[in-house]
Amino acid sequence: MSAHSSSSLSIRDLHASIGDKPILKGLTLDIPKGEVHAIMGKNGAGKSTLAKIMAGHPDYTVTSGDVLLDGESILGLEPDVRARLGLFLAFQYPMEIPGVTIANFIRAALQARLPEGEELEATDYYAKLYAKMDALSVPRNFTSRSVNEGFSGGEKKRCEILQMAMLEPSYAVLDETDSGLDIDALKIVSAGVNALRGPNIGMLVITHYQRLLDYIVPDKVHVMSEGRIIHSGDKDLALKLEAQGYDWVEKEFGESGTKAA
């Protein structure tokens, strides 16, 4: 295995549980800046759990292993500190925040990144917000709607990407951002994500559908099963998974397979 570059989001032999139920069982993954990786895997494999643990969700306990952001462990940090260090999570199920408008929410998030005493410039902010909204075909009147409240499934996902575009993270985890999107929305959101691709961001895309990877072409595809990455490949792996399902990988590389080897 190649040496871990310090410009990467790096997960090392991570074990984590909820209560006394282990969910991640020795997961290792390295996402260098500039690359897009995809994770696929059956329902319940632990994909969302991995995303939430990286983001610092308080319900999960990391029992061993580490998560490094550009070479520094982030495991001891509060979720908001991790976020301000550049980690972004597009949620599989985004939360509703009644009474807090999208515009105020994103503004507060940006304000939180400024040094104390410095104020976000309102006109610049709105100019940027409107530009990003237009690009993602989010109607402008959404600025005054409460965060995710009464949004359709697809609107919520689009709004997650809008937030990502505004916050400009250095690492982003997209948890099933494609589910619930119609074909047109899928194209718009993918174009939005692709527009953010570049040498300054590393992305981890969690999906069940190979189709997304036609639009957001990954550098690597990983298969997750029972809390571990059991197999990795290039984008063709997704095609094979789509055609043949997970049984063959799990047989060949999974828990039982490893033991047999």
Partner: protein, 470 residues
Amino acid sequence: MSTETKPDIDIDRSVGDFRYEMDYAFDAGVGLTEATIDYISDVKGDPDWVRAFRKEGYRKFLEKPMPTHWATKDLESIVFENIRYYLSQGQIPKRTWDEVPDDIKRTFERLGIPEQERKFLSGVEAQFDSEAAYSNIKAAVGEQGVIFVGSSEGLKEHPEIFKKWFGKVIPSGDNKFSALNSAVFSGGSFIYVPPGVKVKHPLQAYFRINAQNFGQFERTLIIVDEGAELTYMEGCTAPKFETATLHSAVVELVAMKGAKIQYITVQNWSSNVFNLVTKRGIAHEDAEVKWIDCNIGSRLTMKYPGVVMKGKGARGEVVSIALAGDGQHQDTGAKMIHAADNTTSNIISKSISLGTGRSTYRGMVHVPKHLKGCKNNTECDALLINTNSRTDTYPAISVRGQGNAVQHEASVSQISSEQIFYMQQRGLSEAAAMSLAVNGFVNDLVQQFPMEYSVELKRLIDLEMEGSVG
């Protein structure tokens, strides 16, 4: 490695928590007897009828029981013998800030009152302990015949209007604390708006408690004549003391035919203040009385602004926001008395309880049998921040008769840890996330406030939340 410093709970960064030492020229001493009342009457040069009114109030105060049985036992912690009932440096409010004694002026400057006055107010009265130190109205508003003076000046200079309504909306024996106020009242505003005059910018009063073990008992009477309109705002603060302080005001509003009164309160009492206030308005035919009431801070607040809809087509509205911080109790609500046909009342109450804070909604809506075409809408929503926070709702709605409609909705919600995590994931600290969610909860009500006050309210909520998370 970057670490977050958690906000320090002991540091109170609220704007109101400071105090300068004072010498008082007039001091009624500690405790309450007939002699205290005579002292106050003498110092203020009360006419005989006012002295008699005070003594009557005192008798009723002694007679009335403490409402501990339906409200809270904490009322028993008020030791009336330990309270100072009158403290002032002088009894005549000044018309310019230059004339206000420096030690009082610096308090109000620090609170930003002169600046607000210049920016967006038609007039200001600033009360320091028992008396107004400053009272002024912009010339253009005065020229329209609007009267805005302290209550003492009102009763002496304008007895023909004052006497007609004083103690009529809220009789001194209404409750134990209105009786107490009637006995020892000092300060507060007297306002009269002549027929048809629409006062463009708000008039504001600011009430400041500076002394320890002190009771502030201002008395406000506002009469808005036919077809006239007024917005009045009041703000209040006190520094933090070890011992209990009492604030017990009486506010009476009279809206004549077709008049509109909007009365806005943003109180930010320190956590040792017992705030026991009686507020009521009469709305004559087609008139409208609207109370916007924000209760933040205090140890115990009991306040149920009311509207008596006396004339046909009158409207009453109470919009209230209460925030009960750790150890605090906000017992608030509204009273709507329908006394004519086709009258409409609306109550919207939102409360937030954090830590061991407790908020209680207590409502009373009364529509007697013989009336028709009356409507009431009541909504009360409670937000609980911690698992040990508490909320109670006591809506007493008695609506009789045909063709009267009543609608009541109540909800209790919590900010979930998933919502906080979501917001934190966007970079907001836990305290900032809490603040944002709480501000979101009251957002639709805050929209109804004048800009300056909604900004102030947001700042107060942020301060409360900042102190409570960590």
